[in-house]
Amino acid sequence: MHPLFSRGAPLALYVLAWLVAGAIAAEILRLVVPQPATLALAYAVPLGLVYGFIVLSAWWVCRANPLANGRLGRAASSQLAAALQAAASWAAIGLAWGAALLRLHPIEGGRALLLREGLLLLLSGAPIYLLSAVVHYLVLAFAASREVERRLLESEVGAREAELRALRAQLNPHFLFNSLNSINALVGSDPEAARRMCERLGDFLRRTLALGARDDVALAEELELVERYLAIEQVRFGDRLRVERDVAADAAACRVPPLLLQPLVENAVKHGVAGRLDGGTVSLSAHRRGGSLVLAVENPVDPDAPGRPGAGLGLENVRRRLDAFGARAARLEAERGPEHFRVTLTLPAFESEAAGAAS
């Protein structure tokens, strides 16, 4: 359906414009060949109106032949063919209509006049159609740019939302409550340790907020945050929590979305280490493999532990952050064995550039 038909006012205006054009054409016709005004009007006005609708067909031709690079030639030939077809149909309708009018109202030299008029329709029809095509291309381009703008706005809102969600998930209230409880305990037994813990917790929170506000960070910065987190959890879990790190130097410089790794490590502690009598080792690794950065977090799990309803949510958040990062090639794989859980992230490896360093 042509967009002109979807609303009444523009359609009425369009019809009116063609009626006026038809009337003007009738006046011009009378100057060329003297004839009664009614005859000229009866000929020109309906034909103008008919062509007004015929040239709207350019809408479909334009949509089928977008002005994309490399396809301009095809679009031009399609439009030209459509223009000739439209003009020819118009001339044919003009001849038939004129002949009918002459039969009702014969005038002298009518037949010759009819042929000249037909020729005129054929010659003027094609440029009028092409003008219509140009206008339609402009309308389509305008609509497309509005659509792009809307999408841009939407993805921006989506990215902000993902960021907020991640931040909220990040500042896991239970982690805070438990840490505060540890501080509460240390105040009595070891006030110096309580102070250190307050400092670590403050540092962790500040870093989380700072990293979360950025588009991308160096993996080294994210690992820094992970270390702060682990230092706090170490106080709670003591030697039940052990950590192995295997980070290649060239991987540490890669840019990653912020708060990507930390939630995975938190999951590993919460659902893996905390659920086992003797705790376990969280293994962290980061390597470059070809053009990819491969990050992995692995933790042992208790074989008897029931399913963990909360864990899927954390993974979902990380997956979303990966999507928001815009890397098509990025993927997350979670693998649960009988005694371990491993999450592997693969994302394109690229190092700091001007845009990243500016923030």
Partner: protein
């Protein structure tokens, strides 16, 4: 009111700082004696009986057994005060007659309040009312979800039977025999209470005395008019009542 002997308290928490905090707080209460600390649910079940604890401070999220599972296995029931960072278990805690529910981090005053409640509960004369079996069974699983495992206490030991390994349940007087992987355990609980917690898509009550894991049934055989037997993958035969057969057909 006299204070004849101090209450024997057991602290159960997998985090050392949380245990030391409670011990420190309780040091100011001469009416409470800390008789033990446990870092996991298995030890807690064992220690509560051996140490004859009157009062247990119980964390909810712990390795192996969570706080609710520990409570389910305690016999006799001591007074229980839950201590956790999670507020979402409070409702379940009171359904199983917990005396109080302390949210971490908590202060000395809040603990004193909890102790006052414990004294009130114990001074009422009656022993701590044991929660109903149904409430306990329901507390062992989060609301809206099915049981994932059965816990059986065997003296000081606790057996965990994940439901994936369960073949069938058999009612035996006041007990339920749990059959899994060729072994069986007895659990003191009515069959109906356990059956109510099971996933109805996986387990069917085929008879007044039997609940079976549907995927363990190899075939059904007609054995007399209106009575059938279910033959399990391991060759064992279980009776199927008419109502049980109707329930099976609905599922299969």
């Amino acid at each position: 009111m006299s204070a004849p002997r101090p209450l024997r308290a057991l602290i159960v928490d997998d985090e050392a700082p949380a245990r030391s905090l409670l011990r420190e707080y309780l040091g100011a209460h001469p009416d409470v004696e800390v008789v033990g600390e446990c870092a996991n649910g298995f030890d807690a079940v064992k220690a509560a009986g051996e140490l004859r604890a009157d009062l247990v401070f119980l964390d909810v999220q712990m390795p192996k057994l969570d706080g609710f599972e520990v409570l389910e296995l305690l016999d006799p029931q001591p007074a229980v005060v839950f201590c956790t960072a999670y507020d979402e278990f409070a409702l379940r805690a009171f359904e199983v007659n917990a005396v109080d529910y302390l949210l971490k981090p908590f202060g000395r005053e809040r603990l004193a309040e909890a102790l006052a409640r414990v004294h009130e509960r114990l001074a009422a004369g009656a022993p701590v009312p044991a929660p109903s079996a149904a409430a306990l069974a329901a507390s062992a699983r989060p609301p809206g979800r099915h049981l994932e495992r059965l816990l059986v206490r065997d003296g000081a030991n606790v057996h965990v039977v994940p439901l994936e390994r369960l073949d069938y349940l058999e009612a035996q007087d006041d007990y339920v025999a749990i059959h899994a992987e060729g072994r069986s355990w007895l659990k003191h609980e009515p069959l109906a209470v356990i059956a109510a917690g099971l996933d109805p898509d996986r387990f069917v009550r085929i008879h007044r005395s039997y609940v079976v894991a549907v995927d363990r049934i190899a075939r059904l055989e007609l054995y007399a008019k209106d009575s059938r037997v279910a033959i399990l993958a391991d060759g064992r035969q279980l009776p199927v009542s008419r109502a049980g057969y109707a329930r099976l057909r609905e599922l299969m």
